[in-house]
């Protein structure tokens, strides 16, 4: 066992892990943050996406030990008390989820898209940017609508500079 410490959702978090412990297992099993999901074993579905030092990563394909000292943000870190994050609110408003399994990863990816583009990119770009997130229920249309609306709410009036 090896000790690991990082910041998760603004709070210090540490634990004793086996080197093979994946970041997603550290979050779910050790910290009981079960909002981050595991949808596949092949690094393809994106249900496990969290932010590590500000970039979106698949936590199922990252060792907890690779995140020593890192700043990790999960779906649980978005809402301020009862106030949902604008992207969460947009997913609710636009019916961008059915079973909800892909939703945590979708929302973390959506926020990353808006952050990286400095605003809301065009619809084609959003669809390409969501290539790493699979949804088996919605057919994606409402997800794309929610990303646009949530992005506008995050940064009002800012179309991406592209």
């Amino acid at each position: 066992m090896t000790s690991v410490s990082m910041t998760v959702n603004g709070k210090p978090a540490s634990g004793e892990v086996e080197p093979r412990t994946l970041l997603v297992d550290f979050l779910r099993e050790h910290l009981r943050l079960t909002g981050t999901h595991v949808g596949c074993d092949t690094s393809q579905c994106g249900a496990c996406v969290v932010h590590v030092d500000g970039t979106a990563v698949k936590s199922c394909t990252t060792l907890a030990l690779q995140c020593e000292g890192a700043d990790v943000l999960t779906i649980e870190g978005l809402a301020q008390g009862d106030q949902l994050h604008p992207m969460q609110e947009a997913f609710r408003e636009h019916h961008a989820l059915q079973c909800g399994f892909c939703t945590p990863g979708m929302i973390m990816s959506a926020i990353d898209i808006i952050n990286r583009h400095g605003g809301v990119p065009d619809e084609t770009t959003i669809r390409h940017e969501l290539e790493g997130n699979l949804c088996r229920c919605t057919g994606y249309h409402n997800i794309v609508k929610a990303v646009i609306a949530g992005g506008e709410a995050m940064a009002p009036g800012r179309a991406a500079a592209e």
């Binding site: 090896t2 086996e18 080197p19 093979r20 994946l22 074993d41 092949t42 690094s43 393809q44 994106g46 996406v49 970039t55 979106a56 990563v57 698949k58 394909t61 990252t62 060792l63 030990l65 690779q66 020593e68 990816s109 990353d112 898209i113 990286r116 940017e129 290539e131 790493g132 997130n133």
Partner: protein, 267 residues
């Protein structure tokens, strides 16, 4: 995944020393090939040496006539780099289309070429641009680096430190992505540089390869039309559930013409 000993060296020397100790030591860069392979128990190293804290392996530097990219530079950083976009736009465009955004945030140039997946994108760029692979031991020309399927000229205890890409006069890349993984079903990188024209094909065969007939035709007339009628032999090409060898051979022609179009448009 079987357990292993984890090491996090902060210098290249330390990493090389660690590679010499233990029975099956593997370096870990972005982990986006190694970790899925370990999950499937296709790899079970005794020791894993994490390269992510070695500053010397990261970064992009422009020199006279070349762009040098550190082995641990992520695909996202290559795609976003002003130097790469200005001087070798085809390389930035290639990096921007690897996998998906999360894969690009973690996956690295060094990991990609050391793995030499027959469907990976970077090997085509290295071979067509005539890149030099710099390691902890020596410099290896791309022509000698990619040996066979998942096999390179690297020794067990050798680490890729950077890749030097000569700036071409023009270059273009086109791939037919596998719709599920986005790896290249077939990808062709065409470049016109100091030593003439080189066309490198990934995805189609067991290992990246050049097509001399296409290079000669493009040397005569650098246009998509110059490639009409040039056929690549399907014998020895890969065949799987995604595409037959014949279809791959056909795609080589289509992707080569698109790569030339991209080169002419400078994208």
């Amino acid at each position: 995944m079987y357990d292993f000993n984890y090491h996090r060296p902060s210098s290249l020397d330390e990493a090389v020393t660690l590679l010499g100790q233990g029975e099956d030591v593997k370096v870990l860069a972005g982990g986006h090939t190694l970790l899925p392979t370990m999950k499937q128990r296709l790899a079970a190293p005794s020791d894993v040496v994490d390269l992510s804290r070695i500053a010397a392996l990261k970064g992009i530097e422009a020199t006279e006539g070349a762009v040098r990219i550190g082995a641990a530079t992520s695909h996202a950083d290559v795609a976003a780099s002003g130097e790469v976009r200005n001087r070798i736009p085809a390389l930035a465009a290639l990096a921007a289309r690897i996998g998906d955004p999360h894969v690009r945030n973690r996956g690295t140039l060094g990991g990609s070429i050391a793995n030499n997946d027959p469907n990976a994108d970077y090997p085509a760029a290295c071979l067509a641009l005539g890149a030099t692979i710099v390691t902890t031991k020596r410099e290896i020309a791309a022509d000698d680096f990619f040996v066979d399927m998942f096999e390179t000229a690297l020794d067990e205890d050798e680490i890729v430190t950077r890749v030097d890409f000569p700036v071409p006069r023009r270059a273009g890349y086109a791939k037919f992505p596998n719709p599920a993984s986005r790896y290249a079903l077939v990808g062709v990188f065409v470049a016109e540089g100091g030593d003439g024209i080189r066309a490198a094909v990934t995805g189609a065969g067991p290992c990246v390869f050049r097509v001399p007939e296409m290079e000669a035709a493009l040397g005569h007339d650098f246009s998509p039309a110059a490639l009409e009628g040039i056929k690549v032999d399907a014998g020895g090409l890969n065949a799987d559930i995604h595409a037959s060898a014949d279809y791959r051979a056909h795609l080589v022609g289509v992707m080569a013409r698109r790569a030339v179009e991209a080169a002419l448009e400078g994208r």
